[in-house]
């Protein structure tokens, strides 16, 4: 293998699994260290700069970071139940314990002080649009956010139930953005062409995926009064229009919306609430923790049942008929659901909530507006710049590529803001800005590091819950209470500091093997070079996780190379402590995404100054 190019910003970024997995590339270990140091406001600001909604995401994020977390892999065969660091819930800790005044002051620094005269329209006041607004308003852009509702937040407040996310948290973080000098206008946009006629310099479409998919099976029409579309029903609960549901409820669908529907039903009078899914339990789209939360509240999840019909008697819905299926896999591993032939089960119910998916809907975009759509009804976009076929009309969030989640919406918002900023400064939007990268040695003394390198053996800590007797009676009582300060510290100690990188300098190495001997995870091998596939097999511990890089040095004196498997490195720094020559060093890698502003623009050649 060729020596690893550690100067490439992606190399060490990939080692920080959580940050690499996060669509917004939040520097996770950095804020977790700040939590451990009790610097909650600083930790909050690290999050705020990167993901805009720390308090909201700290309760609701889809957490792509956690399945990626190295701690989960490290605990295999070491812990009865290997689990990642509770990254998401630690994010909430930053919001819960920050100094509000201090944070407000720090955010206020970004307030728009003067206008650059350019007008931006954002359609929909959800996370994508708000991120665009947050990135652009401080630069002087006149940003107007349009929403059909009087308050901002979009799906964050309409679709996520209050027992998961209190209104105060939404208001606080949404207002941080509006207070930067963003105008929120309640107006339902019914025609893109009309808006284009209003001479905005750029239009950002962040209108989400607002249409819940329906289920067209017999009995749908007849039972209509008791059959509800999940996201619409959740919204009407949020608006206060709906406050009760029948005693027996069936929720169809296996995504997070289905989980929110069943848990909300349980709080509005549903006694016998069950979730019924077509596929297997394991393949459900809902996050594992959301399924757990639902089951904890006594909601059974029944799988491999395909809905056949709504049964109506005397013009009233009485139940549903299903067909029992099993999963069959062909040679290619493709799954199909085949009826088992068992008698069709029937479940009685008073109400059905249909949460079988969401669709994008753009009835308000005229087909002759210049914005083109693909065969799935999604806008044709440049995936990097998020520009549509009309260069100053951009899309982000669920409106861009179909339903995803809040953190993706935030990432899109940042990208779209960069595109808009470059576009309106007459630059090529395809030249994307490089992230800011620093790599700094953490050595403080002979065996002292400026990070806590001692590895704790603790298993993941659980977030305490409010008494279920209280939460099931009140749809607004938040279920999770959040970590207390002491537990947050303990959970923070579980973080391996994967951003503190093991950096190897081959010309200093004397091949004494000290690092090989001390490494608790057998990550380091000195051996003859070879092809990657072959090399992976003959390391001190086989490097079977091909998604993790091998760090290969240049040739050493004995013509061998140092090969380090990044997979389960604890970042404990013992290799560097035992290294007599400083060939190993622990260096903190900090990557910050370049957002809209001067940093994202292509450097201009400075013209020589003319004598006056």
């Amino acid at each position: 293998m060729q020596p690893t190019d550690i100067k490439h910003p992606d190399y060490f970024h990939k080692v920080v699994d959580c940050q690499w997995a996060c669509p917004a590339h939040t520097p996770v270990p950095e804020y977790i260290r700040l939590i451990a140091a009790g610097r909650y406001s600083d930790a909050y600001m690290v999050n705020w700069e990167s993901n805009v909604f720390p308090g909201i995401l700290g309760r609701t994020c889809d957490r792509p970071c956690e399945p990626a977390c190295r701690r989960g892999r490290v605990e295999e065969e070491n812990q009865p139940k290997p689990e990642p660091v509770a990254i998401c819930r630690l994010k909430r800790v930053t919001a819960d314990y920050k100094d509000n005044e201090d944070v407000q002051k720090r955010i206020a620094v970004h307030k728009k002080t003067r206008s650059n005269g350019k007008r931006i329209a954002c359609i929909g006041a959800g996370p994508a649009s708000l991120t665009v607004a947050r990135d652009l308003a401080p630069l002087g852009y006149e940003v107007t956010v349009f929403d059909q509702d009087p308050r901002a937040g979009g799906m964050i407040w309409t679709q996520i139930p209050r027992f998961r996310l209190p209104m105060e948290v939404i208001d606080e973080e949404v207002n941080y953005i509006l207070d930067l000098g963003v105008s929120l206008v309640q107006r339902k946009i019914t025609s893109l062409k009309t808006l284009m006629g209003e001479r905005y310099d750029a239009i950002f479409v962040g209108s989400g995926a607002p249409r819940g998919r329906d289920l067209d099976i017999p009995g749908r029409k007849e039972g209509a009064p008791n059959i509800h579309i999940g996201i619409d029903w959740l919204a009407s609960v949020s608006f206060g229009h709906t406050s009760k549901i029948g005693k027996r409820v069936i929720v169809l669908g296996g995504g997070n919306t289905a989980m929110d529907c069943c848990r909300t039903s349980k709080r509005l009078g549903g006694e016998d609430v069950k979730v019924i899914v077509r596929s297997g339990f394991e393949e459900m789209k809902a996050s594992p923790w959301e399924k757990e939360d639902a089951m904890h509240e006594g909601i059974p999840i029944l799988n491999y049942l395909v809905p056949k019909s709504f049964e109506v008697k005397n013009q009233k819905l009485v139940g549903m008929q299903f067909e029992k299926v099993k999963a069959v896999y062909d040679e290619k591993g493709k799954r199909s659901l085949v009826p088992t032939g068992e008698p069709d089960p029937f479940f009685e119910c008073d109400d059905v909530l249909v949460a079988v998916g969401q669709e994008n809907a753009f009835p308000w975009i005229e087909r002759d507006s210049g914005v083109e759509f693909d065969k799935y009804g999604l806008p044709k976009l440049n995936k990097e710049t998020l520009q549509s076929t009309v260069p100053n009309v951009l899309f982000g969030g669920d409106a861009a590529f179909g339903p995803k989640n809040i953190i993706w919406a935030v990432a899109h918002g940042h990208d779209a803001a960069v595109s808009i900023d470059k576009l309106l400064n007459g630059e090529n939007t395809n030249e994307r800005p490089a992230p800011g990268v620093t790599l700094v040695s953490q050595k403080m003394g002979i065996h002292e590091w400026s990070y806590d390198n001692d590895i704790v053996a603790d298993a993941r800590y659980k977030v305490p819950w409010r008494d279920i007797k209280v939460t099931l009676k009140n749809v607004k009582a938040e279920v999770e209470l959040g970590f207390d300060v002491a537990t947050a510290w303990k959970e923070a100690q579980r973080c391996l500091n994967c951003d503190v990188q093991t950096v190897f300098t081959d010309k200093l190495c004397i091949e004494c093997d000290a690092c090989v001997d001390i490494c608790p995870m057998d990550c380091i091998t000195f051996t003859q070079n070879g092809d990657e596939d072959e090399l992976r097999k003959r390391l001190k511990a086989p490097a079977l996780n091909a998604s993790q890089s091998l760090y290969v040095s240049g040739a050493l004196k004995t013509r061998r190379v140092m090969v380090k498997d990044e997979d389960v490195c604890l970042h404990c720094g013992l290799c560097a402590e035992r290294c007599p020559t400083g060939a190993w060093d622990m260096q903190k890698f900090l990557l910050e995404m370049t957002h809209a502003g001067h940093g994202c623009r292509t450097p201009k050649k400075t013209l020589p100054l003319k004598a006056a």
Partner: protein, 351 residues
């Protein structure tokens, strides 16, 4: 030294031996030696060897003298017996322990100061008596604990860190062990665990006095140009006479070298020491030839490594003395006091 403990977490695929232990279960405390010390690599090789042989830790006794090397038994086999003796006196304590209880595996760990200066007399006698043990000499050519004076194994003409040249002749511990009658003699290098680990395994299986001289660079005081015990010097001048594989039994041999020059030396316990010749003239079962070869290599400035000598018909001290088989701690009162009748018999035999 290191301030934090080595984390207990281990690689998810870390294998277990037939006792159900991982290699990590054979570790000891965190080393307090200087970073990069060759001795730590020797400890790692010992851990590897013990794990591979699936030796129960409580069946091992580690004995050492004084010095950097003699501290190391604290850093491996944390669940074994240990005795940190007086300077240079490890061999006599080991001999006594072995006489009292032959059921344990004896590991003597010493250094060049401990064995070639203050303890040279004990060293010579433990070899000639053929005590069943594995004697590891961690040889760095300097007194590291007292900041790098030449030891008795420093080569004449080699340079100290501050430039002084050694004028005294070196004691070659390997030649000395051979002359004294050790039945298993090897030399290796701390920077080459592939060579060292099988040598240790075979030495443990050998029933008799097994001696391994391991050149172990002192990174703090003897790893500079002009030293003959530095990583660079040893790597440049290392002449391995053979490559050794150790097999616990005949059936376990899985590698078959097609080319000739393979010597098999069966051990008393049924295990097989298999040597692949790297030097065709070298016969490790011929003591005289071994002594000659070592002297010739030394004259050429080469560091001869590998299994230098193994006596196929080795015997140990217990065989020489025809001692009682049972360990002292297992003898009952009736074994120790056979009664008046027996005394009569003995007395009659002496009349």
């Amino acid at each position: 030294m290191t301030y934090i403990l080595k984390p207990r977490l281990h690689h998810p695929t870390l294998p277990k031996n037939k006792l159900g232990f991982t290699r990590r279960d054979y570790e000891g405390k965190v080393s307090t030696l200087c970073a990069g010390c060759g001795h730590d690599s020797i400890s790692a090789a010992l851990i590897e060897a013990m794990w591979e042989l699936a030796i129960e830790p409580h069946r091992v006794a580690k004995l050492s003298g004084i010095g950097c090397s003699s501290k190391t038994p604290d850093y491996f086999l944390g669940n074994s017996h240990g005795f940190n003796t007086v300077h240079g006196r490890m061999p006599s304590v080991l001999t006594g322990a072995n006489l009292a209880n032959r059921d344990l595996i004896y590991l003597g760990v010493s250094g060049d100061g401990d064995s070639a200066s203050i303890g040279i007399g004990q060293f010579a006698h433990v070899m000639r008596r053929g005590v069943n043990m594995t004697y590891i000499l961690e040889n760095n050519g300097v007194y590291g604990l007292t900041k790098g004076q030449f030891s008795a194994t420093a080569d004449r003409g080699s340079k100290a860190k501050k430039g002084a040249v050694n004028q005294d002749s070196a004691i070659d511990t390997v030649s000395l062990a051979l002359i004294m009658g050790a039945t298993y003699v090897a030399r290796s290098f701390s920077g080459d665990k592939k060579q060292l680990t099988p040598l240790i395994k075979a030495a443990i299986a050998h029933e008799g006095a097994a001696f391994i001289d391991v050149i172990s660079p002192c990174v703090a005081f003897n790893n500079h140009p002009g030293s003959t015990k530095s990583y660079d010097y040893v790597r440049e001048h290392n002449e391995a006479v053979n490559r050794l594989d150790f097999w616990p039994s005949r059936e376990a041999i899985t590698v078959d070298y097609s080319e000739g020059g393979v010597i098999e030396v069966p051990q008393h316990d049924g295990s097989i020491v298999r040597l692949r010749k790297l030097d065709s003239d070298y016969d490790p079962t011929d003591r005289i030839n071994a002594i000659t070869h070592i002297a010739q290599a030394s004259a050429k400035g080469e560091v001869l490594t590998g299994l230098l000598y193994v006596a196929p018909d080795a015997e140990d001290l217990h065989a020489h003395l025809n001692t009682y088989e049972m360990a002292f701690n297992k003898l009952e009162e009736k074994d120790l006091c056979p009664g008046a009748g027996m005394l009569e018999k003995i007395n009659a035999g002496l009349r």
